[in-house]
Symmetry: C2
Subunit: 435 residues, 2 copies
């Protein structure tokens, strides 16, 4: 079971096409999954709670008869928090506190201004009324994901945060429930899969209809989210996790190897890439990888991920490293150098930037403060980390004084008639003052 990590060099003629091949990723759009999901959505839309109960019994191997059995109350969440081991409880509270503090700074306020003739223009910012948070159950149950999805909504001022989490075989993850207590979740339903997305999007007698659904899930959840988009808002559909480390060659190669592992261990499709101008350093990291891999609990996943999708890339210099990084537009970017501020102006596209040798990506996953829900697969070219702004929306404000309406009416009239929209023109013209 050897490790064979791809080597790329910007000096090679075929570098661009090699890089393109390395980055290529298409999520499988399976027609069978589509059909199954469409049926579940329709069924829950039509039959509500009864359908939710049936699917939960079938897919999660439960034996429930009514929705009460699929709802947790606040007391159960508080209990989970209070009975955690002290170190976990402390870590969870400390992490939540830092995440909340960072996200507080993202909150946007309404603004307005008044023009000379008394016309007022502005932008009113309001929170969403009600939000749904999907939390995967079973083995991949991540309390950090509860914090990262719920806290921004809570900071935004969302009044109701509805969490759904499947409990396959009835298994409840106490850390996840504790995180829900800490993050300000209003209600928890132990429902998962497409049936949970349907219940949140359309509402049932028991599950309130929400305005937006966020949070990661398997292919059925992701497909369901895509299908209900428009009825409700959704966050980005995430691809596999990625890390790009840009290093000058002077960080401990064991540290870098472990940073690469910390993405690779997520799943076989995760992508870990190292860029350095120092060929010798690339060899050292490769040696560290070979040395450390056998010591890792998830070594099989790491090996599969590194063999399939990792790369060590040799560049001319650090400027070229930044250029390649911009082409990749990574989810996580580590600038493992002495003076990361010097490189920062050259970095145009990245979900989160971890600066300096001490800032391992894992700190950002849990407790540094910024969100760990980040744009993947190069979408950092046009999208942002999950944030408070995803749970606020804006309304434009226009309040014309009679004088303002008269002057603007003249402009609008000309343009509306230029577009052959007479109704628009005449409605503006009614407000033009008679001479």
């Amino acid at each position: 079971m050897t490790i064979e990590i791809r080597r790329l060099d910007t000096n090679e003629n075929d570098f661009s096409s090699e890089l393109e091949t390395l980055l290529a990723w298409e999520s499988v759009s399976d027609k069978q999954v589509q059909t199954i999901v469409t049926d579940i959505l329709d069924d829950v839309k039509t039959r509500g709670d009864a359908a939710v109960i049936e699917y939960s019994n079938r897919f999660d191997h439960l034996h429930v008869e009514n929705m009460d059995q699929l709802e947790l109350n606040q007391e159960q969440l508080e209990d989970a928090l209070n009975t955690l081991p002290a170190d976990q409880r402390h870590a969870l509270l400390a992490a939540a506190d830092r995440v909340r503090k960072y996200h507080d700074k993202q909150k946007q306020d309404s603004w307005q201004y008044t023009e000379e003739d008394g016309t007022l223009l502005g932008q009113k910012v309001t929170p969403l009324d009600r939000v749904g948070i999907y939390v995967p159950g079973g083995k991949a149950a991540y309390p950090s994901s509860v914090l990262m999805n719920a806290i921004p909504a809570h900071v935004a001022g969302v009044q109701e945060i509805i969490m759904v989490v499947p409990t396959p075989g009835g298994e409840l993850n106490q850390l996840v429930l504790a995180a829900a207590a800490v993050a300000g979740v209003s209600k928890v339903f132990t429902v998962g899969g497409a049936q949970a997305i349907a219940a949140l999007a359309y509402g049932t007698a028991t599950v309130p209809k929400v305005d937006k659904i966020v949070g990661p899930g398997n292919i059925f959840v992701a497909t369901a989210k895509r299908q209900v988009f428009g009825t409700v808002g959704i966050d980005m559909i995430a691809g596999p996790s990625e890390i790009l480390v840009v290093c000058d060659g002077k960080t401990d190669p064991d540290w870098i190897a472990m940073d690469l592992f910390s993405q690779a261990e997520h799943d076989e499709d995760a992508q870990a890439i190292l860029i350095s101008p120092d060929q010798n350093f690339l060899d050292q990291v490769q040696a560290s990888i070979e040395k450390l891999l056998p010591t890792m609990a998830r070594k099989d996943i790491i090996r599969a991920s590194l063999n399939a999708r990792a790369a060590l890339i040799k560049v001319k210099d650090m400027n070229e490293a930044c250029e390649v990084s911009n082409t990749i537009a990574p989810e996580h970017l580590e600038l493992s150098v002495d003076d990361p501020q010097a490189l920062l102006p050259q970095i145009r596209h990245a979900g989160a930037i971890f600066m300096g040798r001490h800032t391992s990506e894992a700190l950002g996953d849990y407790c540094a403060g910024p969100n760990h829900v980040l744009p993947t697969s190069g979408t950092a070219r046009f999208s942002s980390p999950l944030g408070v702004y995803d749970f606020q929306k804006r309304s434009s404000l226009i309040m014309c004084s009679p004088e303002g309406a008269s002057e603007l009416g003249k402009i609008a009239s000309v343009l509306a008639r230029g577009e052959q929209l007479e109704g628009h023109a005449r409605s503006a013209e009614y407000r033009i003052k008679k001479q």
Copy 2:
């Protein structure tokens, strides 16, 4: 050809279900359209310019042989602006100026803060590199749409704004070209349909690949945008235009009738709704509608729209009017009252709010300043007007001091091990200071 506008009353038992029926809207997802679009996208992705030329010749009835013939240069745009009639030129420049001034206030800046132990956290805001703007051609060619889509991108600092506009039968709309000159468009290709979306999303030898595509289009364009989403960013897929007028009964009923017409004239699916506590006023507006309709150039479209989708809704009082408005979450909301500021705190969901009797919705379409690309079909519950923020994206910044990394590492280690992610834990633990 009578007008029969639906009447609703919150006092009736079936009001909620009547309102739901009134608002119901589903865009037709036609499998044939899907297939045609998928084929065009694949073809342009594979064959590039050659495919773009073929489809343009076929669908727009052109006879071009190379891409030079499908590109306009800056001189042609400037010429269009300079040769416009003076009143149109003045109106276009005045509108652009106001739109730019309003959008300037939406620009978001980077921020950062440093904690006691020297750890820096922040958010870096950058513009998208390159954006594509789709502009419909032929009859529905709207210069205002060019301004509203291109100016926010320009204000955001997007370096390249690529406009595509079909020219069916070779017909070029001079107002549209003039608007492109005013709005800061970098390049214009006279290409439309799914082939234009494909060229922008994948790039060809001639058309540069963009990071995001915005702008309205027909069902082929909308379907193509949905399909390329992920490869590039897109704006919302717009439903039919809507206006909701909330009036205390004291505005000139002719004004209100014309405001309703100004949405109804867009197309048969557009929706115009009036809410008032004054039954007599609803009757007066109905009379104004019957009186004014025969005088309208687009009377057939207006009549069809009003018959199919309009309503006059009687409410108990203005508070209830605001409640119903929040349920509708309209694209355009007119508060046609003396003191709209008094109602504003009750309005939670609306794309744009037109306040006071003088502020007709049409002013916002052209020149008030705020954007006219707004969330439709109730999506104002969770989304916002198009804005500068749609052309900026954020990267989280995390730069830990050695002390900060050590303290955060302890928290991350506990949480990572709680999630069975050993690689995460060990990469954080490397940075914990030895005692």
